[in-house]
Each structure stands twice: as C-alpha cells, then as structure tokens.
Symmetry: D2
Subunit: 439 residues, 4 copies
C-alpha cells in the first residue's frame, strides 16, 4: 500500500525550482570536503513525529490527516500500515536511517507480555523493510515518560516496581537493537528529574539512575550487542528539573558514576536553547569531553519557553553547529535525527515531505557553509592567531609544557606584566564576514 | 575615626519594635536545634559591596554617600579609612567574618610591585583590626575581571602574559590568606568564559583553567597554607557564557581535571536563578557531590535577566536553602557572605546597616523555619514514605543491594508490573502546609 | 449520586489541625476590614480544571482518577454526572461561584445544532443545581481554541467561515449567560494571535477581532443581557504571539477600537509572569485604566516558560495581588476563579479538594496580610511621604494644577535645581518589614 | 585635527574584497525598488556610543582607546575635539545623519546655567559642522537617567523638583533641535518606571508623564518648531519595569492621554527582544497604530537578559524588520540610528569604523532581501491567498462591510459551519524558501 503515489521521489533541483517537492540545496552526490553530502549527513527519520504525532497541543486536539490511520482495523493492523507509510516517506526523501521509541511502533496491549509480542511482530516487519530498502536503524529507545506509571520517573521513580518495569522495557529495547542492528541506543530521561524538590531525594535518585545505566551496560554485554549508549540532555519539560539538564550536567553525572566509557551524548538544538545555550555550545562541550555521539535536528523559538521541536530552518545556527561537527571529524556512528514535528497547521500528509525537505536543505546549506569556513580557514586562522602566545613565547610555552609555577609566572609578571598590549578581537567584523559564508 | 556614632550597636528587639536599627528576628544567642543562631549563621561582610560599591549602573553614575571617601587624601589614606569604616560596620552588626577582593582593599598603583606593597600595608591594618575585634577572614579572592587586561579572561585568556599576571595575583592572594588566617579561597571566574565561540578554543581554555587551579593548589601546599578552594558558579554576565555555569557544570570540570580533592563550591542565590535553577537546587546538587563549601547570600528578581545582587528578603526561597544547609550538617568552614549591594536609591551610609539587618533577619527567619521543618520531620517523613519501596520490598532491596539485573527485574515486571498502584504526591497540600513553617 | 461521601464539608480548623481536609486560614465568617472573608473572596470553581482536565501533558497521557467518568453510558449521561460531581465539590468547599467553557459542560456532538441542543439540556441541569445550592455563575466563555477549525484563530482566523462559527458559539454563550444569570462573559483568545508573522496580516486580524467584539456587544444588547465583557490577556502559548499579550496591550486595543465602555480585564497570575510582569503589576495596570474586572487565581513557576496553572500557594505574591484588589475597592462583580489544575501526580479525586483548600487558604492568608498593610498604612504612608512634594511645594502644585509650563519649570530649575536633595528609599528595610505582614 | 588619516573613506568593494575597511554590501548608489540605497537607508551615527562610550561594564573598567580624549585640556576643549572626531567618522562612513543626548556633547558643568552655556557653545560647533558636511540631525534627546537626581525617574520622579529639572533639560533640547534643524525629538524613559511597586503610585506617575509630554508639545509649538516626538519603548533595565514597556504599551499610554497626534515610536531591536518580541513584531505593531517613526539599529543576544546593544549582523532578523519598513513605505522623516556599541574587546578606534561597516552592510543585505520579497510578492501572495475568504465569499464580505451580525453568522454556521475545510499553512516550506531571499 502506498500513500504518496502522486509525489515523485524528491530530487535536487536547485533554488530556481518552483517545485515544492524538490531539494533546493541537498544534493546527495555533491562532494563537499572530499565526501558526498550523503556521506556527511546521516539523516534519520523519527517514527514518532513522522507517524504517530497527531497535532494535539495542550490547548487543542489532533489535526493531522494521516491516511494510514484512517482505514481502520485492529491496532496491530494499523501498526503495520504505519511501518509501510514510514518507509515510503523515508524512501521518497532518500533518508537512510531511522529511529523509534518502542511505543511508537507497536501497541502496548494489556500487559507487558502482550507488548513484547507486539514488538516482536512489528520488528519483524521493520527488519524486512530494512532489508528491502537498505535503510538502517540509527537508534531506538524506550518511551518511559508517557505512561502514567512513569509520572515520577523510571530509574528515578520513588517506586522500585516502576524501576523494574523500566528495566524490562530497556532490556527488550536492547534485544530489538540487536535484532535490527542498531548502532546506538538512546536515553531521554523525560521524567528523570523532579516535579518538586520538597518530596525528592535527589542524591538517591541519581544513584538509582546510575545503577540503571550500569545494568543496561551489563545486559548489553551479556547479549553480545553493545551499542553506543546516548544520553539526551534536556533541562526541563515535562519535569520542573531534569537530571540530564545539559551536556555539562550529563558529563558531571557520567564521570561521577564511572559511565564515560559507554555513554556519549545525543544533543538537540531546542533542548540546548531551553537550557540557555546555543546548539554549537552544547556540541563544543560534548567535543571537549570526547562525548559527541549524535544529534537531534530541530529548532525552537528563542522567545518561547517550551520545546517547539520545529524543523530546522535557521541557517546561521545550523551552520555553526555543522562547523562543530566538522571539527569533530563528523559524528562517527551517530547521525542527524529529525526530532522535529510539523506545525499543527501543517496537517496534510504531504507536509511531512515538505518539512523534511526544509530540514534537509537547511543541513545541506549548513554543510556547504561550514565546509567553506573550514576550507578558507576563516575561523581557524583567527583562533590560531589569537592563542599564538602559548606557542610563540617562553612564558606561554612554560604553561603548556608544565614547567610554569606561580613563582615563575609571578616573576614574569613583575618584570613584564605591566605592559601587556592586547589586540582587538574585531568581533563585529568577524560576524559580518561570517554572513558571507551562509548559504 | 568612627562614622556611625549616632547609631547604637544593632540588637535583637523583635517584630514589635519601631526601631529601624534593630534585628526583628536575628537573635545571636537564641538556640535553634541545639546551637545558637550565631553558631549556625557565620555571616560575613563583603568589602566590595559594603565599601567600594558606588551605586553606578550601566545607565547611571555613582549615588552612594560614603563619608570615609569624602575626606580626601591619597589613595592609601582613603584605603586605610575604608578599613576602619568596614570593621565599624561589621562590629555594629555583630558580624564575625569578612571577605574581600585584592583590589577592594588596596590601590593597584602603577605596577604590580606597587600593588603588592599596598596590599602588604593594608593587610597589616586588616590583621590589626582582626586581632582587635575577633573578626575573621572567611575568604579572600583576586579581582581578575575589572582590569582591561582581563577582557578575555585570565587563565582562559588567549594571552599567556595575562595568565601569568593572574598567577601573580593569586599567588599574592594565597600569601595574604595565610597572613590573615583565611579558611577558604574563592575563584569567581567572571571573565573565564567566552564572548563569542567564533574566536574561542573552548577545550584549550578549559585545559588552561585546570592548569591554573593545579598551580594554585601546588603553591598553597608549598607555603603550608592550604585553604579550601571554592569555585563560584555563574552562567553569564559579564561574559556571554562562563565556564563555571552552575554547580553541575563546575563539578563536570573538577572531575575531568582531577581537582575534586581541593575544590568545593561557593554558591550564590542570584547566580542560581540566572542559570535557571532555584538556590536550593544548586545547594542540593553540591551536596550530592559532597562539594557544598560556602554561600553568597543575596537574591535577584525572577523577572530580570541580570545579576541584581539584592539583599535577601524572600523568606520562602531562603528557608528552602537553609533547609539544604541543615541537611548538609551546616557549611563546615564556609559561611554566609552577603554578596549583596544596597539599591542605587538606598544611597545613605545608614542603608548599609539597614540592608544587612534585612539580610540577617531573613536568614534568621529561614533558620527558624528550616529548623522547625527538620524537627517536625515535615519533609523527611514525606521523603521516607515515598521511597519506602526500596527498603520494604524485595525488588527494591535487590536494586539497592546490587543483586538486581535487567533479567531479574524484567521477570518481576512480567509477573507484577501490570498492576503497579501509585500514590498521589498531594503536592498542593504539601506546599500549603509549608507556608505555616515560614517565619 | 455523591462521590465524596467519605469527606465532610470543609471547615476552618486553624493551623494546628492535622486534618488535611480542613481550612487552615480560610474562615468564611471571619471579619476583615469590616467584611467577612466570604464577602471579600468571591471564589469560583472552574469546570474545566475540576471536571474535565485529565492529567495529560505534552509528554504523557491521562492520569486522573475520576469516578464520575468511569460508570460509562452516553456522553450526555456522563455530562450530567459531571454536573453533579462539580456542584458536590463546590458545596464541600463552600465555593459560591463557578465558571465554564461551553465544551466543558456538554458534548459537541456531530454538528453545531446538536451542540446547541446538548448545551440547552445541560444548562437546564446547571440552572436546577444553581437554584438548589445558591451557587452562581461568575462567568462563562466559549472554548474556541481546541477544535482544529480554530487552528488559526477565531475572529482573527484567515477564514471568514471560522469567524462565523465562532460568532455562533459566542451568540449561544451569551444566551446561556442570560439563562444562568452570568454577570461577566470572558474572552480568552488562545488562538487569537499568530503562529508566524510571515503569513499574517496583523492589522487586518485585529480589525476583525474588534468587529467580533462589537458584534458581541450588539448581540448582548439585543437580548437585553449585557454582562461585563472580560478580556483575559496571555502573551503566548499556544500561539507564538497572542494579541492580548498583557493588560497594557489589551488596553491599547480596546482604546483603539472604542471598546472600553464594555470591556474590562480578567487577569491571571501565570499569564502575568509569562509576559514578564508580576501579578500585582498587571492588576495595577488594569486599575490605572479603570479596567480591573476579575481574576484567574493560580500561579506558575518563575523558572519555567510555560503555563503551569498551579494552585496558588506563594503567599508573598498573592498578598501583593490582594493588596491591589483592596486598593481597587474589591473586584465589583468579578471574582476569584481558580484557573488552576492539580498536578499530574495529584491524580486522586480527593486532590481536587486538597488543592482548592490550598488555594483558598492562600487567598485567605493574602487577604489578612493585605488588610493589615492597609490598616497599618504601612505602604500608603510610604507612598504619601514620597510624593509629598507634589502637594507641599509650589512647584509641585503648579504641576498638579496645570499652571506649570516648561518656561516656569526651567526658571525654577535654574534657580533651585542644582541643589535637590533626595531621600533614600530604604527599600531593603521596606521589604524586610513586609515579611512581617505575610501570614 | 583628523584621527583616521590612515584610513580612506569607506567604499563599496563587494564580497570578494580582502579590505576590512570597505563595504561588502552597502553601495549607496545602487538602486533598489526604484530608489538608491542611500535614499532608503537614512543611517545615523549615535554620539554616545561612537564618542563617549568607554567600554566599561558592570564588572569592568574602561577599555576604549580614543585619541581625541588623550590630548588633555579642559572638558570643553575635549568636547570640541570629540565633535571633530565624530564628524570625521560620519564622513568616512558616508553617514548623513546623527543623533545625540545633551550630556554626550557638552560638559554639564557645575550648574544648569553652565550646562546651557556649554550646550550653546558646542551646538555652534555642531551647526558649523552640519553646514560644512551636509550631515543632518536626525534627532536629539536629553539624558535624564545618568545623573543621580534622576534615580527615581524624571517626569515620574516622586519629587516635583526633579520633574522641573527634566523640563528644563527638554526645553533646552527643543531649542537646540530648532537651532540644528532636528526633525524628530526622542524620549527614552530609562528611569521612567519603578524599582519596586511597594513604594510607587503608578497611576500618578503616568499622569505626570503625560503632563510632561503635553508641556513638551506646548513648548515646541510656542517656539514654532514641532518635531515628531518619538517614544522609545524598553521593558526594563535599568528600572525593574519601565512604563514604555513595548510598542503596544506605549500606544495604550498615548491613547489614554490623547497624545497620538504628536507622538510616534522609535523602536529598537534589542529592546523588542527584552520585551519578548521579535523586532518585526514591534515594527508591525507600530504600523498597525500608524505610529512607526524611526528605529534604533542594533541587536542583542537571545540568550542573554540584558541590553547588549550589539551592532546588527543577524541578517534574517534585520531582513524581516526591513520588510516591515518597506511595507510601511519607509520611515518618513525617521531613520536608522546605530544605537550600538562596539564590544569591550573591540577597543581600537578603528573598530568604530569596522562595526559601523558591519551594521550598514547588514542593513544593505536586509534591504536587498526584503526588496526581493516584495518584488516577487513572495509573502504578499501568501497573505492574499490566505485571507481570500474575506473577499471571495459572501459571509466574508458581510463581515468586512459591516452587515454581518451574530444572528446572520450563526445562521451561516448552522448551515455550513460543520464542513469547513482548512488549508495547510505549509510554514516549514515558507521558512525554507525565505532563506533563499537572505543576502
């Protein structure tokens, strides 16, 4: 069954095209910095936003028109049709990876046992589709935030029974990861935090979260399938405070509990903004801890205080993010997952294509811009020159090579310190020239 | 020379008093939880806000009337008078500790050498005053953010010469700490961050900051005076991003660079808010890393985006903070430093007394409220009951004692997980009753 | 059918009570400033948050346990049971007013006609309950934001057909207001704003909104039932920008379109905060335009960027709000509607009582505190003294009586202006003493 | 005396140039939409940020290197050199307008009388320079926020004497405006607001502000020089709340006090952001009230909570602003004043040129982009199509022509309302295509 017969596979047509269903910038075969765009940009389609997101918001009901849901049948029958629709969309777009939560793909049924069975059945279908299309699983995860049982968290729940239930979900998730060849496994701790500190034992909850993660590592090893575990920081919403607040907070946690060997970060633009950071800051922080794993591509609205999960179109922000990714040598086994939802007013099925085209074009623009910045050494020259004193001067070398002490440095300062001449950063000029790199 | 002859030492007079120059709640001898208020509350007077802060803001010039500055004379003569005024205020208030930046107390002169000499002279005066009054140095620090040389940071400056100059300042600071018997030494990295990521090598800068801190530890050991080093997190302002963004970020850094044995945190209310956290959250975070060192007492305005450094009067916020401090068993060698400035419109010298009375009364209210919460087990009972399943149930015990695995937990969930019954948190009721604990 | 047989009507028992189901501060008969608390505090129960709110949030499904919904039957049968449950809760609490949206009380059916019929049937039931209990309708409103047809607004929709549909809803709403004796009629323009300016003609949309309001006034006159129309400002969420951003913005609109004779404001705490204002600021703004109509009682979280609609427990904020209401001589025909929802984790039916008790106690505390401020002239004396120069000096009188001109004032300034001596505001002291007025 | 002899007048050289001191986009003679860029873009140089801003921030002292200040002499001698430097910079840049506060240009002396005399002397110099260069005064204003006397406001001060002093300043300002041929006169009420509502009579203060404005109008008429008065909204900083919070708030005030005939708005990018709005929103709001007067060109940082006054380089934001200006038919007698300061680290005199080049290039990019949007009817076609139902349908026409009533609309809705079919907004696509209009 096909749902988009009237739309041809999306092709690159350039900016002059009047065809809405065409890439204006993303040209998979175009070579940038020695690799094709497709090699650089491991785009992934998110099952939840593409297939199950219905357009409801806290003040309004569902708006989305989804033909695959309208034909009726059992929940499982609908679930199978959704798989078909999902892969059809991925193929139309030429997207080669995908991501899902367990509850996105299969009905939860009336018991955990039934849920397991449904997951088995639908992942058979997914596996078949993977083989048929060559599309791969970038990562899967367990939705442990929607069900009422998780209202106080999972591993950080105040109830051991809930911790156990979450363990059962992740155990299955790791088995499905193995079955489908997933390269990463994600934790977004949407309810791992607190609603109020008044009734919360924060240290105990974080101890429990660490125990949970160690059990996940142990289980993954036991089944001979150790994906890269990815924590996805978000500061708040739905909880008042979430323990994986931002990249640095997650790194404080991973170090404290000796988890850095197994965990990296999956960073999201809108989550960065909600934490008060730019996306490039979060990427840079992860890089500095050697922990940049993968990204969730979207954007928010700087003037709104909640997660809008918009498709990315702000070229300057994404270009600076892409620049960090290039400095990182790419994302390794990670990718660019569109954790982005069409607006409630973009309720037509075709908007799913249009929105992904917008997002992919934005990342293509960003790749081209960031590549030019790298090739021209526009920013790297500025950086090299600014920090040159650590290489060119004796005092700088002594700091770098570890021979400096407060005594030697104070002696230097007493002799030479009163005459330091600084250079202007000329930031206004730098920011102006940057604009000429934006595509 | 005395400046407040017309005002008697501030005494506790209770809430019925009409005397502005009296404590309404702070009663040093009153016993709370087995200790006097004075023993609980190691208040410290900040030299900068008390003496040198002039009431200027980005849109307006100085307003403060400070008699000790008006008599003229050389910079050093003024500096000596300021010391007298400072200790007079501390004694009027019955405050037993103080804090200062190097530049607060002594003129910087025309060279580092001259600055050193001035510091030596003024710290002689401070030492004499300490002996005379029994007032102690809670901590000192180096102002390494006001001078133009530090426009790009100190240890994170792009210039090695600036790094050296900062080293010379901290070296002297540690020597003065030894001379004056300081128990802590503080780093507030006001310019240790970036103005723009475009021209910044973040990882290199953080490496440099860690080198600087290790040199500080080494030097302190070498002079046989190892105070507790305290990092003071702040997210931004003056820089766009500061590396010690919040408590968790500071802990990520300290762990990465193996500095946790020597460094704790000095947490400030207004800085917490600017980072998007409550003050009690930051204190709790520090506690969970065993790193709660000292606090900077003030408050901001939740609706403003900059550091207003107001004297604390919001009782609910400070009570919840004090509750964390009680749970921590107090602040150890730390204290409660009023990093708070009188409003620009509170420009009379007497406002310095009124404002500190307000702040000390607020902490006294908070102590009484928090103590009652502890004595009544109001919150501890709620917490104990909520997490009871980790003690009372087999599955909970297996998680706590480390025998649980994903297999055992999944087996449990398959058998019992579909019927978990949760309890309401009744948070509305808890928050309502909390109000009856506020003093 | 009764749902709370096990809980006795809520009575005042004071702060020593251990009974959760008792008022600790709200004592209806207690006289404050010459009136009983009940006369001061026209509390109203909101149908939506009390009865139909299910505990879902953007990341989680419904949690609420609502016995009146569980017995099954047709939508209309459930709707009737909900009315019974609603009035039972109001009576338990001793609340004398209520508020509703049309869609809260009656199923929308398959057509507008069917919706009208359902509304007629259920309002018969409401009317009967009103007579039986003496509980009155504070205001009703039309939900014109949840249905997909309103995704782009109602009167500000880009589609005339949608404007017409909204007119049909409000027309019915006014008829129901007449039937039930409603004293106010509210507009909360949840979708009256824009998602993006790119596709929006803002001036046209505001013209349309004004036309809609004028039609409402005309229709109300035509049926001989002219309630006070109330606009409820909110800055954003669900839309990116809402036209009734805050009190001042609403007043700009009402003046521009000559609607001030018929419209006042219904102000909500959490909406004020989201717009960057304190609640007392919004109340004061409305007062200064003689437009304070009614309030929606709740609170948010200063550190979160969305509408949390919590029950009010922050005593200091509500006391300052109550102070404004006292300065306004009360709310006239307005009241205090609890536009507040129990937390998702307060999912038991009994939490509805506990949460309203918390809210009512908070307003009782606030009333007592604000009344003491008024009786002691604590703030009014400060204000009178601060502005005295406009009464006591010739130059001040000339400004007040309109005889001053720039010439006369410049002449005064040239002669006397260089020697103005100001007074300190002593704000720290004022804020400290304020705490002793908080109950 | 010339300060920039080593730098040639700035010319357009295009994006390929390696010359930092060249326009990359601003080409004064280039024709866009039938007018030259210079005709479209009435750039103005701000005296304060260009000449007197010293690089101090709340945590650091002055950094700027300003040769015209270093030669010593009396305050008046320095003031004259500053005038020369200012016009030299304007001429280098080819900027044809300028703006100033009274205190920027002349020393305040020891009395108002002395200040008047200094202003007379320096404005003679300015007038001479205007004649010599052809550069015109866009607007002047009085700085009534820096002096301590204004700590509680000017017209909203609690002290009548301060009101009078402000009147004397504005009276002189209007006389200077006449002398120099200023076309606008600006009020930025930096202290016209409150620090705390506790001690404030808001309604009285706003009455006073209105009296002040009426006196200004009266005086301007009396001297036969009625410039366009411009209010410059800003929400906060330095005050907690400023009465001219945003465009809508200012319009509420102007309408209430019958001032709309004389006052328009001077809107600033960074102020818009601090109030929670986009710049294009504020411009659009002003347009909808027919009150768009002039703009202050700069930008802030969406993640910072204070006024950073950066030179504008964010092309997307400025393009959307420029689009509003084109829709307004330009700014009339208004202009584009760079209320922007070089970063504290851009401390070289040459940075003043580089930063203005960056800002002017950004506005040139924005003009080209916005013009293309207009020429292609990219957004106007979308708007026309979206609202077509108000033109094409009977029901829509009835709303527009005033014949619709709630009865007619309800009748329509009952017949046709259940079948409204909406269109998708395709916002993701629109935002993606917008990027191809950015220059």
């Amino acid at each position: 069954m096909a749902y988009f017969n009237n739309i041809a596979p999306i092709k690159y047509e350039g900016t002059k095209t009047k065809n809405m269903f065409a890439f204006r910038h993303y040209n998979p075969e175009e070579v940038v910095l020695g690799k094709t765009m497709e090699e650089h940009l491991h785009f992934a389609l998110a099952f939840w936003h593409t297939i199950t997101m219905d357009g409801a918001d806290p003040f309004g009901s569902a708006t989305m028109e989804r033909p695959w849901d309208l034909e009726g049948g059992t929940e499982l029958e609908i679930a199978h049709r959704r798989v078909d629709a999902f892969f059809e969309i991925a193929e139309k777009l030429g997207v080669k990876y995908y991501c899902f939560h367990d509850v996105d793909i299969a009905p939860q049924g009336k018991s955990l046992k039934e849920f397991y069975a449904n997951l088995d059945e639908i992942t058979d279908h997914l596996l078949e589709k993977q083989k048929e299309t060559g599309i791969k699983l970038l990562w899967n995860t367990a939705n442990m935030f929607s069900n009422p049982r998780y209202m106080n968290g999972v591993s950080t729940s105040n109830r051991a029974e809930v911790f156990a239930y979450g363990a059962a979900q992740v155990k299955k998730g790791l088995e499905l990861s193995k079955k489908l060849g997933g390269e990463n496994y994600v934790f977004w701790g949407g309810r791992e935090g607190y609603e109020s500190l008044l009734n919360t034992d924060m240290a105990l909850e974080m101890d429990h979260m660490a125990k949970f993660f160690h059990m996940a590592v142990d289980y993954a090893k036991s089944i001979d399938h150790l994906p890269i575990f990815l924590i996805e920081p978000k500061p708040k919403e739905p909880m008042t405070h979430q323990y994986d607040y931002d990249a640095a907070t997650a790194m404080a946690f991973l170090q404290k509990y000796d988890l850095t060997d197994y965990f990296k970060l999956n960073l999201e633009t809108n989550h960065a903004w909600l934490a008060g950071h730019t996306f490039e800051h979060e990427l840079n922080t992860a890089r500095s801890f050697n922990a940049l794993g993968s990204i969730d591509a979207n954007q928010g609205n700087y003037l709104l205080g909640w997660d809008t999960d918009e498709f990315p179109t702000l070229v300057i922000d994404i270009t600076l993010a892409m620049h960090q990714i290039l400095l990182n040598g790419g994302l390794g086994k990670g990718g660019i997952n569109f954790d982005a939802k069409v607006r409630r007013t973009s309720f037509k099925a075709e908007d799913l294509l249009l929105a992904h085209i917008a997002g992919m074009d934005t990342y293509a623009r960003a790749l081209k811009g960031a590549a030019a910045i790298v090739e021209d050494k526009f920013l790297s020259d500025i950086v090299a020159e600014r920090y040159a004193s650590y290489k060119n001067t004796e005092v700088g070398q002594s700091i770098e090579n570890g021979t400096a002490t407060f005594e030697t440095l104070a002696a230097f300062a007493l002799e030479h310190g009163d005459d330091i001449e600084l250079d202007s950063n000329h930031l206004e000029h730098v920011k102006s020239v940057l604009n000429d790199y934006l595509v």
